[in-house]
C-alpha cells in the first residue's frame, strides 16, 4: 500500500524498512480515519445539498462523454476480438453473450472507474490541494466550517451516486457498440445478439456490476480528497498530490476489483 502514504515532501536518504512500514501504516490509518469521518458526516447536520448537486453535475455529467466513448468502443472492440475466436469454434452467435458478461462484470465498472479516477481524483486533489496551500482551508476552519464536511463529503457522496449510474451507462454503450459491430460487420442477427446478451446475465453478474462502481466511487473520491487535503509545499506539492492520487486510485481500483470479484464469486458462484 505504498501509494497510500500522504505526500510529506522530500525525504533524504534511505529509510530503514521498519520506519518505511510504520509510515505506510500511519498513512493507511490516517486515510481510513479521513474516509470514515467523511462517511459519518453524511448523517450529521448541516447538509450541503447545493454542494452535493454541484459535485454530482461536475463528476457525473462532466464525465459522461468519456464514459460513453470508452464504453462504446470497448464493446465494439470486444465484439471484434471475441468474434474471431468464437468463429473458430463455430460459436460466433454467442458474441452478444460474451460482450455482455465481460462488460457488466468487469470492463464497464473498471474502465469507468479508471476514467473517472483519471479525471476526478486528479481534479479533486488539485482543487483541494490548491485550497490548502493558499490557506483557504484554514480560512474555512477559522470561519467555523468543517472542511471535511463542506468539501469532502459532497464529493464522496456525489462520486458514489454518479459512478453507479455512469457504470450502467458504460455497460449500455458497450452493448450498443458490440451490437453495431456484430450486426453491421459480422452480419449477426440483431435479435440473437440481444437475446444471448440478456439471457447470459445472471443476478451475480448484475450484482457485481452494481457493487463495484459504488466501491470504486468511494476510492476515487476518498483518495483524491485525501491527497488534496494532505498537500504541502506550494504548487509543487499540489502537482505531486494530483499525480499520486491518480496512481493510488487506479491501483486500488484494480486491486479491489479482484477482491470484490473473488468474494462475490465465493458467495454466488461463477
Amino acid at each position: 500500500m505504498a501509494a497510500i502514504a500522504p505526500p510529506q515532501g522530500e525525504e533524504s536518504g534511505a529509510w530503514p524498512l521498519a520506519v518505511w512500514g510504520r509510515r505506510q501504516l500511519e498513512g493507511l490509518g490516517a486515510f481510513s480515519s479521513f474516509t470514515g469521518t467523511a462517511f459519518r458526516n453524511m448523517f450529521a447536520r448541516p447538509f450541503y445539498g447545493g454542494d452535493l448537486l454541484l459535485q454530482m453535475d461536475a463528476i457525473g455529467v462532466g464525465s459522461l462523454p468519456i464514459v460513453v466513448l470508452t464504453g462504446f468502443f470497448t464493446g465494439a472492440v470486444m465484439a471484434l476480438q471475441l468474434a474471431a475466436t468464437l468463429n473458430q469454434y463455430g460459436q460466433i452467435e454467442r458474441t452478444g453473450q460474451l460482450v455482455a458478461l465481460s462488460l457488466v462484470r468487469e470492463l464497464g465498472p473498471v474502465l469507468t472507474g479508471l476514467m473517472v479516477a483519471g479525471r476526478n481524483s486528479a481534479g479533486m486533489a488539485s482543487e483541494l490541494g490548491s485550497m490548502v496551500v493558499t490557506e483557504q482551508v484554514d480560512a474555512m476552519r477559522a470561519l467555523g466550517t468543517d472542511p471535511v464536511k463542506k468539501l469532502v463529503t459532497p464529493r464522496l457522496l456525489g462520486t458514489i451516486v454518479m459512478m453507479f449510474f455512469l457504470a450502467i451507462v458504460a455497460d449500455l454503450c458497450g452493448l450498443i457498440g458490440g451490437f453495431l459491430y456484430a450486426v453491421f460487420s459480422l452480419g449477426l442477427d440483431p435479435r440473437q445478439y440481444w437475446y444471448t446478451a440478456m439471457q447470459s446475465l445472471a443476478a451475480t453478474d448484475i450484482s457485481q456490476g452494481l457493487i463495484k462502481p459504488v466501491v470504486f466511487g468511494t476510492i476515487v473520491a476518498a483518495v483524491g480528497c485525501y491527497y488534496g487535503m494532505s498537500a504541502r509545499g506550494g504548487t509543487r506539492g499540489v502537482g505531486k498530490a494530483t499525480t499520486t492520487s491518480v496512481v493510488a486510485a487506479s491501483v486500488l481500483i484494480i486491486l479491489s476489483d479482484f477482491l470484490i470479484s473473488r468474494v462475490l464469486i465465493g458467495i454466488f458462484g461463477a
Binding site: 493558499t134 484554514d138 476552519r141 477559522a142 467555523g144
Partner: protein, 266 residues
C-alpha cells in the same frame, strides 16, 4: 477605581514544534479586552504560529492557550467551530475563497449560520465592505482585485459576524506604502470605533508605531496623532522562539537589550 478589563487571550508557557524542530518555547502573554497587541519579530520567529494557536488552528505541544475563557486543549474540534465564530482572522495572503465573489466571501459565515434573512445578510455585507471602503467591488471575483483590495475584503469578511477578537496576520505585508497605510488606517479605525480586541502580527515596525501613536478622528474621518501614547496598544517581540519583550511602546523604545536596539534601528 476602574475594574481591570478581563483577559480575552492568554498564552501560558506555550511550546510548539514541527517535525522535532521547536518553533515556540515557553511563550506567555495576555491580551485584555479592547487591547491591541502588536507581535513583532524577524521572519520565521513564529508570529503567524501564535495567531494560529489563538484561533485553535494549531494545538500546543505544551502549555495552555485560553481564548474567550475556553482552554483549547479541552475542546473537541467540532466544539471549536462554534467558538471560532466569535473570532475574526485576516490571513497573510488574504485566503479569500477564489471561486466565490466578494459578496459571497464576506457573507460566507452569515450564510453558514442561517440566522439572518437574505436582506439582513446583504445589508451586513454592504456595511462591512463600506467599513473598508470597498462597496463597489461587491460583485467582483477575488482574482479581479489588487493585493490591497483583497486584504481589505479579508478584513470585511473577518468583521461580518462582529467578532470579539480580531487576528491580523501581516495585513500590510507585500503591499506598497500607500496601500499599507490605508490598511493600517482601517485597522486603527476598527480599534477606536468598534473597540475590538486584536492581535496584530507584522514585521513592519512603522505599522506598530502607527498603532501606538495615532488614533482615529471621526470628525475629520482621518488619522491624527494621539495626544498621549495609546496604552491600549502594547508590543510583544519574539526572538529565538521565546518572548523577548512584552510591554508598551515607551518601554520598547527605552529597552537596553542589544537585540531590541538593533531590531528597532534597522
Amino acid at each position: 477605581m476602574a475594574l481591570p478589563r478581563p483577559t480575552l487571550i492568554e498564552f501560558d508557557r506555550v511550546s510548539l514544534g514541527f517535525d522535532a524542530q521547536p518553533v515556540l518555547e515557553d511563550v506567555s502573554f495576555a491580551v485584555r479586552r479592547s487591547e491591541t497587541k502588536v507581535l513583532l519579530g524577524e521572519t520565521g520567529a513564529g508570529k503567524s504560529v501564535v495567531l494560529k494557536l489563538a484561533i485553535w488552528l494549531l494545538r500546543p505541544d505544551a502549555g495552555r492557550v485560553e481564548v474567550l475563557g475556553e482552554a483549547v486543549s479541552r475542546l473537541p474540534e467540532r466544539e471549536l467551530y462554534a467558538l471560532r465564530r466569535r473570532i475574526g482572522i485576516v490571513f497573510q495572503e488574504s485566503a479569500l475563497f477564489d471561486s466565490l465573489t466578494v459578496r459571497e466571501n464576506v457573507a460566507y459565515r452569515l450564510e453558514e449560520e442561517r440566522r439572518l434573512s437574505e436582506d439582513e445578510i446583504e445589508a451586513r455585507v454592504r456595511a462591512c465592505l463600506a467599513a473598508v471602503e470597498l462597496e463597489e467591488a461587491i460583485d467582483k471575483m477575488p482574482a479581479e482585485l489588487s493585493g490591497g483590495m483583497q486584504r481589505r475584503v479579508s478584513i470585511a469578511r473577518a468583521l461580518s459576524t462582529e467578532p470579539e477578537i480580531l487576528l491580523y496576520d501581516s495585513p500590510t505585508g507585500g503591499l506598497d506604502p500607500i496601500t499599507a497605510t490605508n490598511i493600517m488606517e482601517q485597522i486603527i479605525r476598527l480599534r477606536d470605533v468598534n473597540r475590538v480586541t486584536a492581535l496584530l502580527v507584522t514585521h513592519r515596525l512603522q505599522d506598530g508605531f502607527l498603532m501606538a501613536t495615532h488614533c482615529w478622528d471621526p470628525e475629520a474621518n482621518a488619522l491624527r496623532a494621539a495626544a498621549a501614547e495609546d496604552h491600549a496598544t502594547s508590543f510583544l517581540v519574539l526572538h529565538q522562539r521565546r518572548v523577548l519583550f512584552d510591554g508598551p511602546l515607551q518601554a520598547l523604545r527605552g529597552s537596553g537589550d542589544a537585540y531590541l536596539k538593533q531590531f528597532l534601528t534597522t
